[in-house]
Symmetry: C2
Subunit: 340 residues, 2 copies
Amino acid sequence: MTDKSRKKADIIAVAKAARVSAATVSRYFNHPDLLKATTRRRIENAVQKVGYIRNRAAQTIHGIRSGTIGVLVPTIDHTIFAEVVQAFSDAVAEEGFTILLASHGYDQQREYTILRKFLEHRVDGIALTGLDHDAAVFQLIDRQEVPTVLMWNYSEGSPHPSVGADNELAGRLISDHVLSLGHRRIACLFAPSEGNDRAKARRRAILDMLHAAGVTVPEPWQLTSVYSIAASKAKVADLLEGGTAPTALICGNDILATGAMYAAAKAGLRVPEDISIVGIGDFKGSSEFEPGLTTVRLPARSIGRIAGTTLARAIKDPQARPGGTHCAPELIPRASSAPV
Amino acid sequence: MTDKSRKKADIIAVAKAARVSAATVSRYFNHPDLLKATTRRRIENAVQKVGYIRNRAAQTIHGIRSGTIGVLVPTIDHTIFAEVVQAFSDAVAEEGFTILLASHGYDQQREYTILRKFLEHRVDGIALTGLDHDAAVFQLIDRQEVPTVLMWNYSEGSPHPSVGADNELAGRLISDHVLSLGHRRIACLFAPSEGNDRAKARRRAILDMLHAAGVTVPEPWQLTSVYSIAASKAKVADLLEGGTAPTALICGNDILATGAMYAAAKAGLRVPEDISIVGIGDFKGSSEFEPGLTTVRLPARSIGRIAGTTLARAIKDPQARPGGTHCAPELIPRASSAPV
DNA sequence: AATAGTTTTGCAAATGTTTTCATAAATTTC
DNA sequence: GAAATTTATGAAAACATTTGCAAAACTATT
């Protein structure tokens, strides 16, 4: 096939091969209905022969969409974000977009830098994780007027449409569950919350809820652990060594809860007979665990998918100021929690 | 700050604001050392004032690099690929590249389509997962002469530099380990291998190795399960219900092994006393498991990082035809396997 | 067969940059 | 202080495309 190999393979090469003008080739791609069927065929062959691939960069400088969406997550390799990204990517791919993906590792400065890079690439839209971002970030987005969606958290009054779960609600659901089982001696294990509004909201909701029920969590039972099974396992192991153990442990997410389960197993405690352990997230695998983990489902795939379609729609119809979507968290009671 | 808000904010607007020519502004970004310090400052202010953001699309049509790398994985939301992508992304970000990410879901046709899209965006480089791809895919890459790296598997004679582990070796390591513990009644649980050369290589290596040692795995003990804890748990539960159980179960990856562990727990079998269970991968969490999972470490993060730097280097120096890298798999014996 | 109407195509300008070449400004040398 | 260098800047062409406008090529109508 591709004989004239080392030619330039631009639109003009195709035009020459098809004996038409460059304008006609352009129309072949953008308004094929304007062409005579025979011309269309001629160009089709020429494209094949020359091995032409359209150049989106050249289109983009005409104000035509770049066909890319910038997606910014704290990190890719937490199941939870990976799921969101996967669903998001699938959703927008259907509309012809490709995602430009980057992670900032919870560093607000890096977030700004990456965002600028996205804008240099003239992304058609932007998806950020979480609701709170540096003022400069929002300023930049507003200035460029690029459609934006905030994923993962939901809040009524967010500056851009937000698609996600209400993390406070998630926190309330799980603490309500634990309280309703009659637990009063409760420990908590949270993720670090600086630069992470999800973690912050959960922590606040859980502590408030417990407090309202007259339960105070003593200082040494308020643990913090980075997002890692190993770290969580170690922290909880320490906790359980101390004399009087809590009857329930609320973890800020399922990964922490998983570590806690292992720690309990190692300490010879039975779950849920000796201690109830619960998480938030319902990550892949949480249901298959032995015992199944009681948790609150945050519908990651729905969030990704809906965020994707919301953004794609906003891009294609710049008038429509789309609203956000609350993907409701849902308590999933399993075997890891039981009455005192 | 940004007062002249609704102007055009292109290089010419900056030029006007700084009372210099567009060429000078261009130089400010690309060859700042050619400018007088005072001019530089004047332009710097103008950029701020106008709110200018460089347009990479316009640069790209000059044959300047787009600053993007196309990354194509089967799916993003398997820990293992997420880790590779994260490490890859970090590595190339350091060199100024942003990744264009897409997943093909093990569909060769989609892989081709996505690749074309990458090329339309004029990516500077391409990273594919695995060694075998449609002929059309390789043809397209060769025709466009875009630097490419194959991640995840390693093979001496791959058509493009490959960075990854030797999956056959991984298979041999784990089966050798199981045999050396004295096991003879061995069952296997593999991932489906169509369009997945990693799975294929492991399966072949394991069966060959066992065969060479005089162990034949009876047909009903050769299970296949999709990549999911739930699916694997179900399959293995079925197996264990049948009369005589194997003394060891070799799983094609850690996810399958995890499901198997749960199934064993549910069936009341102790690991490793009643049955040894091993995996391949050493995914995040495999070490924290109770009992810790014996597995073969495939260094995902190293693979991603090295693939990234290899590709970045190949892009920056088009002469250098870089070689691949074998990231050696390593047996990690833990508590889930023991002598018969 | 001429006219009017419609469909198809080409020309040239426009898009936002970079880069070559030439010129102007600043600096050094005598 | 003029000449010779060196350094800094601008004008215009180039990049790969799209698009408005006008001309050319068809069809239909009489």
